[in-house]
């Protein structure tokens, strides 16, 4: 089961992704994430992968599409707390990530 939890702090929206991100799971959460971005209109969106237990290339699609959506909404997207395996996948698409940062 893939889930997204949201933490709103002033102009920062943290999206805490939980579970497995594959083609099936990504479809379950992407609409919900976009709706929250539209609702809160944050300046900064952080996708936190610390509770993700598996990810394939669907994670790339999920991040890239949210990145475009954030740009359209005037927000910046950061990807945070990815493990080595996820980093290997995201790097195939040239996505740079932040490890354990405190933005």
């Amino acid at each position: 089961m893939t889930k997204a939890e949201f933490i709103q702090d002033k102009s920062k929206l943290t999206v805490l992704l939980c579970g497995e991100i594959d083609h099936h799971g990504a479809r379950q959460v992407r609409g919900e994430i976009d709706n929250r971005i539209l609702k809160y209109m944050p300046r900064l969106v952080v996708m936190d992968f610390s509770h993700v237990t598996f990810m394939d290339s669907s994670g790339i699609g999920l991040v890239l599409a949210r990145s475009r959506f954030c740009t359209d909404c005037g927000a910046t997207l950061y990807v945070e707390n990815v493990d080595r395996q996820m980093s290997k996948i995201l790097s195939l698409a040239g996505i740079k990530t932040i490890q354990n940062s405190n933005i």
């Binding site: 083609h23 479809r27 992407r30 394939d56 669907s58 790339i60 890239l64 290997k88 195939l92």
Partner: protein, 140 residues
Amino acid sequence: MQNENYFKISFPSRSVNEAFARMTVSAFCMQFDPTIEQLNDIKTAVSEAVTNCVVHAYPDTTGVVYITARLKNDTLTITIKDNGIGIADISQAMQPMFTTDIKSERAGLGFAVMLSFMDKVKVYSKQNKGTRVVMTKKLG
């Protein structure tokens, strides 16, 4: 031979089975004592190949996906097969960022992931007959 084993499964091309497929292959591999990284690489490659069957092989229908995994002399061979629409141009399909699925959020990196996480990936396809992906990885 003691160090030789295999399994075969088939299941409908529903997206909920992507997780089932990679976990089944992962469970099979456990007996050969892989590293966590090897196991993650295999799970990811299987997930990509099965997703291709769900999204591309059977775009408007639900078909059958067949998986065979075999371990012989420390080499794991996974075959993922479908009887779907096939691939018109295999070398184009395997190019990074190429995708025919523009309406959803596919990055076109499925084969790129398989190629970088497995030792060898071979793709055989015939239009309107189906596709077979054969991937190998040395364990141990």
